[in-house]
């Protein structure tokens, strides 16, 4: 039993940063859902009012940049965990 615990602890110490990096990559999940919703709504809006394409595009890009931010934070954290 003790051997198993020490083994698990050693494994966690060795692989901790790697596990953390993997967990940090989960931020992509929320960003993906958010970007999908934003793009879908933009397509709907364009279909409803094709003459407003320019305004919709700028708003969509801004929204995508905001949604992408969380994914970028996660990526940054996992890069730092892997290479630091």
């Amino acid at each position: 039993m003790e051997l198993l615990v020490t083994m698990i602890v050693n494994l966690l110490v060795d692989m901790g940063p790697a596990i953390g990096a993997g967990l940090a990559a989960l931020t992509g999940l929320g960003a993906g859902i958010g970007m999908g919703i934003a793009t879908g709504k933009a397509v709907e809006a364009t279909a409803r009012q094709p003459e407003a394409v320019g305004k919709i595009r700028t708003m969509l890009l801004l929204g995508l940049a905001f949604a992408e931010t969380t994914a970028i934070y996660g990526l940054l954290i996992s890069i730092l965990l892997i290479f630091m």
């Binding site: 700028t58 890009l61 801004l62 940049a65 992408e68 931010t69 970028i72 934070y73 990526l75 940054l76 890069i79 892997i82 290479f83």
Partner: protein, 262 residues
């Protein structure tokens, strides 16, 4: 194609090779005064931008015509694009914000595109991003206080707004830094992996296809996003009077109008 004799060993070699490239290296180091390669490429970008501006001033702008040539059309489009969006968002300060956003966007865009010449991108260093974000932060607050004077302090009666304002430069810094660094790391990874492929032509074709996605796309999108976010925050800061007061006034007006009738 990809020869993996010992996958784990190869992965280790790749990650070691990458970790050298992720963080900037100090080129000049005198005591606590250190200059890394990102700073040097940043200065190269600044000098290149100044020279290009001088050349454009001396060639195209001197021969300004009513029937425009290609270069004139491009310049007009570029300047009026930023001026127009600055006009829409920050009405009276557009003379200040238009040139600032154009300058910041040009620096970010060219600072990332230096990567195509084999230099380290100027923006892939936290300090460059902090500097740009602090410029925006100062613009937001100086213009906010210049427009609303002491009335802007009422905005801070709600302490959450202090945190919201302090989070702006941090989030702008890490958005810029993260996206540029990730693009650079992915491109470096591709360059390293491509070296081990000895299939004729592929080492040339693969980076040529992927560079526009990870470098060009990122450069243009991030510079546009930085400019439009700056304008959004400034326009938020120079909004005349907080909305809550307007509502109260309306309610008061409604109640005072209702009282006499009752």
């Amino acid at each position: 194609m990809l020869v993996l004799f010992d996958p784990s060993m190869q992965m280790l070699a790749i990650s070691e090779e990458l970790s050298e490239k992720v963080f900037p290296k100090n080129v000049i180091e005198i005591g606590s005064f250190a200059v890394n390669d990102s700073v040097i490429s940043g200065f190269i970008v600044v000098v290149a931008l100044l020279i290009v501006a001088l050349i454009l001033r001396l060639t195209i702008i001197r021969k300004w015509k009513t029937t425009p040539t290609g270069g004139q059309m491009f310049l007009e489009w570029l300047v009026s694009f930023f001026d127009k969006s600055a006009d829409e968002m920050t009405e009276e300060y557009s003379g200040l914000m238009g040139p600032y956003t154009l300058g910041a966007a040009a620096y970010i865009c060219c600072g990332v595109l230096v990567e195509l010449f084999g230099l380290r991108p100027a923006i892939a260093d936290v300090c460059a991003c902090v500097a740009l974000a602090m410029c925006t932060f100062l613009f937001i607050h100086t213009l906010g206080f210049a427009k609303n004077k002491h009335r802007r302090l009422k905005h801070y009666l709600n302490p959450i707004n202090i945190i919201t304002d302090l989070a702006v430069p941090v989030s702008m810094t890490f958005r810029l830094f993260g996206s540029i660094l990730s693009g650079m790391v992915i491109m470096d990874l591709i360059y390293i992996v491509v070296e081990s492929i000895w299939y004729i032509g592929l080492p040339v074709v693969i980076p040529a296809i992927l560079t526009p996605i990870f470098t060009l796309f990122h450069a243009l999108i991030q510079s546009y996003v930085f400019a439009s976010l700056t304008l959004t925050f400034v326009s938020e800061a120079i909004e005349p009077v907080p909305k809550k007061q307007k509502k109260k006034r309306k309610q008061k007006g409604a109640s005072s109008a209702a009282e006499p009738s009752v």
